[in-house]
Symmetry: C2
Subunit: 426 residues, 2 copies
């Protein structure tokens, strides 16, 4: 399958966001429907992707990668949208990152040829699925995280009696005490590297080391834990026996979510070994950014003279809903909830109000303070004029938990005409 | 379309839960694949539905409804699974409840003939979608909530120039101060009822009053707000001019989620009017119950001598994941996260441990204390023996945010053989 097969997908009004009564149509036709969000052609709630912001972010982030000699395998779990993966690869991404075997399966279905499973591969169903993909395509380059000999044993057990066309490439994951997965010390990394060196080389091959700095404890107070973690990886890279990577084309050093990637990149870029070092970021949220936690992370980087990231990403996701009720003077409800919008890392921020027949009006003082499955609770400030039937657009926080609530996200131009549609595969 | 069309849906390994490399197959074949969760035939994470618990809950809840002379329009937003709707209707449900126009569209696509939109209908795209469904089927009985004259005006404006085959039936929603949607007083209800009486009767017809008691403030301290709210509805029903419901076949009095439905039902059943009263519950979560907030609600009812609900529902949803890492003595990670399991109303509770080649073992002391998109953080007590590659089953809290994370949920027997599959439409 390829992206054309997605464009050929027949959509009907069972899909959230598609007007009731719409006859089934191929996704490729969506831009010719003449639908406009402000004309209320589509039912709300509705999540939309702004084409201009997507393009802006791709351009700005691409320029940063090029000028800093960085590779990118954007985390595909963010969008799980093969159409976006295809744009990212066309823009020069080295590969796509996944978090689960199922995500690998989706990426493979749409022809992604290099996948980094930034997670522990373990368990029969998962390992055999990867083995099958490897054996189906000699050009499929598969890398995954490993953080214990027990995991290596588990993978080896699943592959007992299986011949692999080429080996699984392993990235030793490094974590911090009190953090998430990953070895906790240089000593543990060396022990695991020895185990990999001793394993069946037709099945497993060392490829480098990796981390995810975004969950390091203490980040609520300062960014020091990021630098500390990066330094630990550098120490591990310098401590590993050269024999463990002799003969490789390159040594991969990977980290970088979408909040502290510049710190990681700056540190990692100082590593020199006997073989080339590929500094590989895995940022996933740069592509849409947001109006909450990732916007704040951008602002923090810009305000910090020691940070090298100074560019501006734009929020590409907007959630549209109706004002459905004004039951009390300062209380309003929007027709969107936990099924439609992220709520795990800050609630949506209303920023546009459109009144049919009138036009855009001042959104006023308003704060979403709670959500139920299908409702958003909004506190209104004095004088804020929201009426039942008004359309309200909100910026969201945490793209990863926005995409997963929509099977189809209309892509709009700056006038809110629907010009395309992106399908997700969660 | 009907349920057979769901069974004919072609599934492949892009769908989460389906083994990598599986050739596309019709859903109706899933029970003949010979898949077993404990044999690791399926990739994890995996959400499963236990057939025996579903049947048990349907039977127990059905007996309660029958003995208390109650009608049920189960909230379909919980599962958004037409296969489950069909079972509920076959078990005697009076209709199915929806929360959005899109959910109505899905239900209509699978032939549900009576739908209660337990929410405000508002906005062009939404109102016209409903009008189209009404005009396409004279037997489609559609009811929705209304809580303001502004909403009535909005609906009327969308329907200006539209002829409806039969009217939209309106349920006045009653809420409480500091709560969610709904009129706040008897006086507001009367004003709104007058507005409905004055509206175009070919488009709008009063049908009764309704509430959702589950979001009343103060429920963290006692169940009194539920009884108070029920009493307010009774007062409104008795205060409405008889002319507003004269000529109707029945007066609908609706409430009841899955935590306090017995209190609502007991109060509502005391109402006597000149026309028959239909006490209509909308419980959605009874069908699967859970191992968290709804289990606690059941336990609280059983412990309260003033509550009439004394039956036992069983948790039908289980989330299975691998132990992927044991990076610290008392810390483990499971291969499941915000993409797979509910996290808004309590985190999953591990309750079974299965070690391949060994069998079920004591799950030990363990607590999921955090989740990321694709990881669960687990604190282990002293001596708890979890190994990388072990399978762990967890009970979940809040079915509504469990179903929406899976497009296909395998149905299993008590030996974890996959015997069927339920598709969701979120």
């Amino acid at each position: 399958m390829n992206i054309d097969s997605i464009k050929a997908t027949v959509i009907d009004d069972r899909t959230k966001g598609i007007p009731g009564g719409t006859e089934p149509f191929a996704l490729s036709e969506i831009g010719r429907k003449g639908w406009n969000v402000l004309r209320e052609d589509l039912p709300l709630p509705l999540m939309v992707l702004k084409r201009s912001s997507l393009d802006h972010n791709a351009s700005v982030f691409g320029a940063y990668l090029a000028s800093h000699h960085l590779s990118l395998a954007p985390h595909g779990k963010t969008t799980m949208a093969p159409q976006i993966f295809a744009e990212q690869l066309a823009n020069g991404a080295w590969g796509i990152t996944a978090a689960t075997a199922n995500q690998v399966q989706v990426m493979r279905a749409y022809g992604v040829s290099r996948i980094i499973l930034a997670n522990q591969l373990v368990g029969k169903g998962n390992v055999l699925a990867i083995a099958q993909e490897i054996n189906a395509d000699p050009d499929f380059d598969f890398l995954c995280f490993i953080d214990s000999a027990a995991q290596l044993d588990n993978m080896a057990r699943q592959l007992d009696g299986v011949t692999l066309g080429h080996p699984i490439r392993l990235l030793i994951e490094v974590g911090v005490v009190g953090g998430r997965t990953g070895v906790r010390s240089v000593a543990e990394a060396l022990t695991l590297s020895n185990a990999i060196a001793a394993a069946d080389s037709s099945k497993f091959r060392f490829a480098g080391i990796a981390t995810f700095e975004g969950v390091a404890p203490g980040l609520d107070r300062s960014v020091e834990p990021v630098a500390d973690l990066a330094n630990t990886l550098l120490e591990i890279a310098r401590s590993l026996p050269k024999a463990h990577y002799a003969g490789l084309d390159e040594f991969i050093l990977s980290g970088g979510g979408s909040s502290y990637f510049d710190i990681i990149a700056d540190r990692f870029s100082t590593l020199a070994l006997d073989i080339p070092v590929r500094v590989l970021l895995r940022s996933g949220c740069y592509v849409t950014n947001d109006s909450g936690s990732y916007k704040n992370a951008q602002d923090a980087a810009k305000a910090d003279p020691h940070r090298s990231w100074k560019s501006e990403l734009k929020p590409a996701l907007e959630a549209w809903a109706y004002v459905q009720s004004r039951p009390e003077e300062n209380l309003a409800f929007l027709t969107m909830g936990k099924r439609d919008i992220p709520f795990d890392s800050g609630l949506p921020k209303p920023f546009k109000l459109y009144r049919p027949g009138v036009g855009f009006l001042d959104v006023g003082q308003c704060e979403v303070f709670a959500t139920n499955d299908q409702h958003a609770y909004v506190r209104l400030g004095p004088g804020t004029d929201w009426r039942v039937g008004d359309l309200v657009a909100s910026g969201i926080s945490h793209p990863c938990t926005a995409f997963d609530k929509w099977r189809l996200i209309p892509v709009v131009d700056d006038e809110y005409n629907v010009i395309d549609g992106v399908m997700t595969f969660f």
